[in-house]
C-alpha cells in the first residue's frame, strides 16, 4: 500500500490563503496539518472527546471566516493556537454557567465522568493526574499541558499566551508543586 506524502510549505500556504481561487484548498492543508496538535491541546482542556471535536470545529471555522485578518505577521500556528485556547476557555465558561458553577471555581467538574469516557483508557494514576491538572487555574493548566505533554519551548508558549518566559517558568513550577501536593493529599 502506498502512502501519499503531503508536503506542507507554510510560506506557500499562507500566500495561497490570500488568493480567492486557492484559499479553500490551502486551508484544507492547514486543517490536515494542524488538526491533531490543536485537537490534543483542546482535548486536554475540555477533557471530553465530543466537546473537543466541537471546539476544534469552531476553531477552524473561526480561523476560516477571519482568514482575511491573518496577515502573516505572526506564525500561523501561533494564531491557530490562540483561537483554539480562546474557544476552549469560552466553552469551559459556558459549561460552568450551565452547571451553575462560579467562573472562579476550578475545573474539577470536567473530570468527574472521566472513568466512564469511552475514549479514555488511562489507569487510576492517569485519572488522578487529570484530576490534579483540573484543579489548576486555566493559565497554569495551559502552560502545564503545553510544556509537559507537547514539550513546547517556553519561547513558543510565550508567543501564544503573550506571557514572558520567566512568568511561564514560574507558572510551570507552581503547577508541578500543586500537582505534587494533590498527590500527597490524596495518598
Amino acid at each position: 500500500m502506498t502512502k501519499s506524502i503531503h508536503i506542507y510549505d507554510e510560506e506557500t500556504v499562507i500566500e495561497q490563503l490570500h488568493q480567492q481561487d486557492k484559499a479553500r484548498q490551502a486551508f484544507s492543508k492547514v486543517v490536515e496539518h494542524y488538526s491533531q496538535p490543536l485537537y490534543w491541546q483542546i482535548r486536554r482542556m475540555v477533557i471530553d472527546h465530543d466537546d473537543a471535536s466541537d471546539v476544534l470545529q469552531n476553531t477552524f471555522v473561526k480561523a476560516w471566516t477571519n482568514i482575511d485578518n491573518f496577515r502573516g505577521d505572526a506564525k500561523l500556528s501561533t494564531w491557530l493556537y490562540k483561537i483554539a485556547i480562546n474557544e476552549s476557555i469560552t466553552f469551559i465558561n459556558k459549561k460552568k454557567a450551565q452547571n451553575n458553577i462560579a467562573l472562579t471555581d476550578d475545573n474539577a467538574f470536567l473530570v468527574n465522568n472521566l472513568e466512564a469516557d469511552t475514549y479514555f483508557n488511562g489507569d487510576d494514576a492517569q485519572i488522578k493526574l487529570q484530576k490534579a491538572i483540573a484543579t489548576l487555574p486555566d493559565k497554569q493548566r495551559l502552560v502545564f499541558n503545553m510544556r509537559y505533554y507537547d514539550e513546547m519551548k517556553y519561547e513558543d508558549i510565550s508567543e501564544i499566551l503573550g506571557t514572558s518566559v520567566g512568568a511561564l517558568k514560574a507558572s510551570y513550577h507552581h503547577a508541578i508543586k500543586k500537582i505534587e501536593a494533590f498527590f500527597a493529599d490524596s495518598d
Binding site: 490563503l17 490570500h18 488568493q19 480567492q20 484559499a23 479553500r24 486551508f27 484544507s28 486543517v31 490536515e32 488538526s35 491533531q36 485537537y39 490534543w40 482535548r43 486536554r44 472527546h49 471535536s53 476544534l56 470545529q57 477552524f60 471555522v61 476560516w64 471566516t65 482568514i67 482575511d68 475514549y119 479514555f120 483508557n121 488511562g122 489507569d123 494514576a125 492517569q126 485519572i127 493526574l129 487529570q130 510544556r147 509537559y148 505533554y149 514539550e151 510551570y172 513550577h173 508541578i176 500537582i179 505534587e180 498527590f183
Partner: protein
C-alpha cells in the same frame, strides 16, 4: 526540562490516556471542509519590484551621500593641512634653518659643477689646438 519534573510525573509518563475514534482526523478534515462557508478574500496586490527594492535603493543612496560628504569634508581638510604644513615649514626656525642649509648645499654643488665644466672645457680647447 527533566530537572523541572517531579518523581510523580516521571513515573506517570507522557501518555494522558485520551483516545480518539478510528479515522477521526481524516473524517474530521473532510467534514469540516464540506461545512465551511464561502468567504470573500481581499487579495492584496503583489508589490512591484521597485516597491520591494525601494528601501535598499534609498539606503544605498544614503550611504553614498554620507560617503560623498565625508570625501568633500576630508578632501577640504587635507588641502588645508597641506597649506598649514608649508606655512609651518617656512615659519618654524628649525625648519627654516634646515631649508637654508639645503639651499647652501645646492649652491655648493652648482659651483662644483661649474668649476668641473670649466676644467673640461679648457682641456677640450687644448686638445683641439
Amino acid at each position: 526540562m527533566k530537572q523541572e519534573e517531579s518523581n510523580i510525573l516521571k513515573q506517570l509518563g507522557k501518555d494522558s490516556g485520551f483516545q480518539v475514534p478510528e479515522h477521526f482526523f481524516a473524517d474530521f478534515s473532510k467534514n469540516l471542509m464540506d461545512s465551511l462557508p464561502e468567504v470573500k478574500i481581499t487579495e492584496t496586490p503583489k508589490p512591484s519590484r521597485w516597491v520591494r527594492l525601494r528601501p535598499y535603493v534609498y539606503m544605498a543612496a544614503m550611504f553614498a551621500g554620507i560617503w560623498c560628504m565625508m570625501k568633500v569634508f576630508y578632501g577640504f581638510n587635507s588641502d588645508k593641512t597641506k597649506t598649514v604644513n608649508t606655512e609651518m615649514t617656512a615659519d618654524s626656525p628649525a625648519n627654516g634653518k634646515s631649508a637654508i642649509m639645503q639651499d647652501q648645499n645646492k649652491i655648493d654643488d652648482n659651483a662644483m659643477l661649474n668649476y668641473q665644466d670649466s676644467i673640461n672645457a679648457a682641456m677640450q680647447r687644448q686638445t683641439q689646438k
